[in-house]
Symmetry: C2
Subunit: 324 residues, 2 copies
């Protein structure tokens, strides 16, 4: 019987899932609202509903395992959500144990940014590379490190917090407790803050867009029109990203950096500054060959990564041999 | 016949070497001047002389391989010295090829800081840990990353340049081309510069010691006497080191940091600031369990690391099975 694995992406708004074969073929997709506001048990019920829908759809096939990505701090080995920005009441919540009551299947969770990196490494921008770093530039900055085709998780499964590399030791406070983190500059939130710092310009801009609050997309639209102030914000953001990437090059001698997330859409406006900064700051020999590329899988990276992780865990646990 | 491996530490002043068994027992030691000023061929001749001396001393035993640590940028896979501060004329010098003319033995070289980390991981402060970072605080700041008991070398064998993590993007220029590198603050050179920045104090201090130039040791001796300005320099240096360590924790979720090199002798004066800064800046969960400890093997770390590396390379190449 043909096997498949379900990959889930547990977002704050939607649960997105797909049934995927070992060869990376998507057999079926499901998307339903997460319903965070209705409490933890409703979210759990919705996760189970998604899995059930897929199982019913693929009756003749065998579901081998379920993998899921969640934003936040995840104890990978134990399947515990330590904390998650989308689910404030999930503190040290043993999600694997909770789901095992209803799900007689191997079930694995990991940080969503780690899984996006795993997905890009399996089927996307990183597939020809053994080792690379992925930075997801969204509301925050997520990170994932792939070393020799495996996610590097570190001691507690919390490695790859690349958004929390310190750029300016006395810089803007970060909710993580540090100051001047990469995330405070190279994210949508950072772009909005940098725009807000130019007050008069902010007034001009928002009125131009008939909006009250400035958004990262507004700054992007302005940059597209050639607005000098908006372009400067992306240049600054690009330079700061370059400082972080140069650090990673000097530390890890990694040759590929994959950039995903919504902010990466402003590629043309920040990437020249990023490359310039990397060239200036990284060791010459290790910096010269570095490639910085766009992620290829978009929103599906996390789903594919969840599948890839679950397949690897199955293999290393010896539970079952997957057939494509 | 009992086997042994020779580990060499190629310093700017001396070549230090030891014959070591697989069990880590030192059978014989040799130390001779490097004679850098007499040119490259003289240094090569001296390396061969050291190996010859040991072979003669241990006639009844079998020499399996030679490992050597060199400061600078080393192409590990090819055995090439890309550049070295101690040997300015060794640019892209294929040391392995050069030595193979005179040495019918497997021969491996690596960066000295990488090998210090490997040595501490084998027999020193890191031996009970699978993964750790080592920082060698000397004239500069060397680094080595051990992941799952192996040195992480990256794409070209140049990973672990932990002294070149950017701390202050607009900080003091570093000879590596970057600005505000960790090395510019957490090294003997950095300590001297920070002391020089307080000009009047500098005058008072040097006269107190009857010296013209200020040295890191002078600052250390002053700190020992309770001199407030000297203590402040070590506190500043400690905080900056903490920023770098916090970065490594957030990136790699590493639990052990081993500090070696001469500057680490000022431990009591900088380490409280380092720990304080790590607690403030690293992710809470990953930072809490972190241990920062002194290196245990002193100058021998590099020699043991060279032996450990050579043994591992022999094993993975399948050339010979080592017997202790």
């Amino acid at each position: 019987m043909k096997n498949y694995v379900i990959g889930l992406d547990l977002g704050g708004t939607n649960i997105r899932a797909a049934a995927v074969t070992r060869g990376g073929e998507i057999l079926h997709r499901v998307k339903i609202p997460t319903e965070v506001a209705n409490g933890r048990e409703r979210v759990i019920a919705n996760i189970l509903k998604v899995i059930d829908k897929i199982k019913k759809e693929l009756k003749g096939l065998k579901l081998s395992a379920v993998g899921m990505g969640i934003p936040g701090i995840i104890f990978f080995n134990k399947g515990i959500v330590a904390q998650s920005p989308n689910f404030p009441d999930w503190i040290d919540f043993n999600l694997r144990e909770r789901l095992s009551k209803n799900l007689a299947l191997p079930f694995y969770i990991d940080n969503d940014a780690n899984l996006a990196a795993a997905g890009e490494g399996w089927l996307g921008a990183g597939k020809k590379f053994n080792s690379f770093c992925m930075l997801t530039l969204g509301t925050g900055v997520g990170g994932g490190i792939v070393l020799n085709k495996n996610i590097w998780r570190g001691e507690y499964g919390m490695a790859g917090e690349l958004g929390h590399i310190t750029i300016y030791p006395d810089g803007h406070p970060c909710p993580c407790g540090n100051k001047g983190c990469l995330e405070q500059y190279a994210s949508a939130t950072g772009i909005v803050r940098m725009a807000m710092e130019g007050k008069e310009k902010f007034g001009v801009w928002s009125s131009e867009f008939g909006e009250k609050d400035i958004t990262a997309d507004m700054v992007y639209q302005l940059a597209k029109k050639g607005n000098k102030d908006a372009l400067e914000i992306f240049q600054k953001m690009g330079r700061i990203l370059g400082i972080g990437i140069a650090d990673l090059i000097n530390i890890l001698n990694i040759e590929l950096f994959v950039l995903g997330g919504g902010v990466a859409n402003a590629w043309d406006y920040f990437i020249p500054s990023t490359i310039d900064e990397v060239r200036k700051r990284a060791y010459r020999i290790t910096g010269e060959g570095v490639k910085v590329v766009k992620a290829e899988l978009g929103d599906d990276a996390g789903i594919f990564g969840a599948v890839y992780m679950a397949m690897n865990e199955l293999k290393s646990s010896g539970v079952v041999e997957l057939r494509s």
